[in-house]
């Protein structure tokens, strides 16, 4: 995570005839294998910054290093072939089939036909395109599918770096969420260095490892992991940009497994009812959880526990509100809100892991490194 793949050093861009620079002395380290989101209001130079990385725009001053090498010294075509580029307009060649589109860069690199075909088929599988779609033309596909083709085309020659300019801006929210999930799954496998421009803070928080918030004129306000950004905005500008519900957004970032969750008032059904009563008093709880052989089997109410002979005989309340260690706090909160017990049970493949309460979620958000 610490080694940088791309470094922007004092990068400034002043367009001809513009009074103010579009990007002002921007310095940014983009770690290898991570996703960095550039976000900010319009006019903040995020797209300009992105386009300076593959030299679609040449900087006025400052430097870009890719793998420690000055990008301006490399032949531009060669530089660009090592950098995938995905844009909102997708920009597929409308007169070429999906297959031809994806194979553009390999063909340009004069790969043999069989190798191109093989690579195209592989990429189609990777981004979730059906084989029969390869013979179609771009306009015969839906917006989401076109964007998948765009991503496949950008990845064709296996570039280590991927630049994405509002890649999911033109599709509806449901498709956008799915494409974001797919990008994350893809990144899990490919570990590319991805720089993504977006104006959607939810998108940035969801997909990025680090978020750079830019102010008008390309002035860097804050560069931090999403959780830190939401929890501790560095300036009034960032705070306002993130909105009032930034703490709520953090719920989607943290996982149940991150919490210092506890066992709670939970007993194996083989134990004595007296133990259960003691536990209930201790926890000042109305409900007690029952496990059997390590699995959670249900909740029992205090009233029943008072008169029960064995715990196994207790009437049990099912289904219990369940979450997994990998669930987000947001999901856990939703489950808790909908359950009578005000607790969610952590269950991973039948194994009881502990319980989560609203109080735990609250303190989990409060602690920086919970």
């Amino acid at each position: 995570m610490t080694e940088s793949a791309i470094r922007l050093l004092e990068l400034t861009k002043l367009f001809d005839g513009a009074g103010e620079p579009a990007v002002t002395a921007l310095t940014l380290d983009i770690p290898r294998g991570s996703i960095v989101a550039l976000i900010g209001p319009s006019g903040c130079g995020k797209t300009t910054t992105l386009r300076m990385i593959n030299r679609l725009i040449e900087p006025t001053s400052g430097r870009i290093e890719i793998d420690g090498e000055d990008a301006s010294l490399r032949p531009v075509a060669e530089l660009r072939r090592g950098i995938g580029y995905v844009i909102q307009e997708v920009g597929l060649f409308p007169h070429q089939t999906v297959h031809q589109n994806i194979g553009t860069v390999p063909r340009m690199l004069r790969w043999e036909r069989a190798r191109v075909d093989e690579r195209v088929a592989e990429l189609a599988g990777l981004v979730g395109l059906e084989p029969e779609q390869l013979g179609r033309y771009p306009d015969e596909l839906s917006g989401g599918q076109q964007q998948r083709v765009g991503v496949a085309r950008a990845l064709a020659a296996d570039p280590p770096v991927l630049l994405m300019d509002e890649p999911f801006g033109a599709v509806d929210p449901i498709v956008r969420a799915r494409l974001q999930d797919e990008l994350l799954a893809l990144q899990e496998r490919l570990r590319k260095t991805i720089v993504l421009v977006t104006h959607d803070i939810d998108e940035a928080v969801k997909v990025a490892d680090r978020v750079a918030v830019l102010n008008v004129g390309g002035i860097l306000e804050q560069y931090a992991p999403p959780d830190e950004l939401l929890h501790a905005p560095a300036s009034a500008f960032v705070e306002e940009f993130l909105g009032d519900d930034r703490e709520i957004r953090r719920l989607a970032l943290k996982r149940v497994g991150d919490l210092p969750f506890e066992q709670g008032p939970v007993l194996d059904i083989g134990r004595a009812p007296a133990e259960a009563r003691a536990l209930l008093d201790d926890a000042r709880s109305e409900w007690i959880g029952l496990t059997s052989g390590g699995s959670f089997v249900g909740w029992a109410h205090r009233d029943h526990v008072e008169e029960a002979a064995t715990l196994a005989a207790l009437p049990r309340e099912l289904p219990a509100a369940q979450v997994r260690a990998s669930s987000t706090l947001r999901e856990a909160m939703e489950v808790i809100m909908n359950s009578r017990t005000s607790v969610a049970v952590i269950d991973d493949g039948g194994r009881f892991g502990g319980i989560v309460t609203l109080e735990q979620i609250r303190s989990g958000l409060a602690g920086r490194d919970a």
Partner: protein
């Protein structure tokens, strides 16, 4: 050089149109339709060839560089207002003084002037309107400027370029017959001679021949497009046409 008396097509006044067109002598021989038609086609082909060479490269290049918007706009206005006959007539004394003769320079230049605006404009506009995202993506994939121009912009614009060629060619073919009134021959001679001899058959026959050649020209360019433009590009054009509800 002094203008020579022009050989006239001598046709008896009473002869009917079908009879005239049905006579083999009307078609063959030095003053026949085939020979006159060949004159016309040769001149028009020369005009179109020159026009394409002159108009397409600068139009494509300027559109690629996103320059010269004003030139294009000016051409639209100008192109509609070129008085071809007047230009040709004005050029006659110039050509004579320089010893180029009556023919075919004045008419060649006048027709060229007629052909250039549609050729230039269609090429310029078509390339200018190629989706910027597509061009951007190509550039970002490492396409050189030349590749972008030929393999992306021109490839996507080719159908509209062909429309320009068709419009220009039909205009040129339909206008070329004025050559017969400026000391030349070609297909226009029949109308001219018909007028001179007050021979209706010649006038109507000549006019029909000109119309037929213009229609054929349009067809030939369309066929040429079908042969040369690849499937992927052609289906785009069909689609655009059906979306706009036209058959342009």
């Amino acid at each position: 050089m002094i203008a020579l008396p022009i050989a006239q097509a001598a046709v008896p006044r009473g002869i009917g149109l079908l009879e005239w067109l049905g006579d083999l002598d009307t078609w063959l021989g030095p003053d026949g339709i085939l020979s006159s038609g060949l004159d016309t086609v040769t001149l028009c082909a020369a005009v179109m060839g020159t026009g394409i060479l002159l108009a397409l490269p600068p139009a494509a290049l300027l559109a690629h560089l996103r320059r010269g918007e004003l030139t294009a706009t000016a051409l639209v206005t100008l192109g509609r207002a070129v008085p071809t006959f007047a230009v040709a007539a004005l050029l006659v004394p110039v050509a004579l003084r320089r010893g180029w003769g009556f023919e075919p320079w004045p008419i060649f230049l006048a027709l060229l002037l007629l052909a250039l605006p549609p050729l230039y404009l269609n090429t310029y506009t078509a390339i200018r309107h190629v989706d910027q995202g597509t061009v951007d993506a190509a550039r970002a994939m490492g396409f050189g400027e030349r590749s972008i121009l030929f393999r992306v912009e021109f490839a996507l614009a080719i159908s509209v370029v062909f429309t320009g060629i068709r419009v220009a060619a039909v205009q040129v073919v339909a206008t070329e017959p004025i050559r017969a009134f400026l000391g030349g021959d070609g297909l226009g001679r029949y109308v001219r001679d018909g007028l001179g001899q007050n021979n209706e058959t010649l006038i109507i026959g000549g006019a029909l021949l000109i119309a037929a050649l213009a229609a054929t020209t349009s067809l030939v360019v369309t066929l040429l497009e079908r042969v040369t433009v690849p499937h992927g590009v052609r289906r785009l054009r069909l689609q655009t046409a059906s979306r706009r509800g036209s058959i342009g």
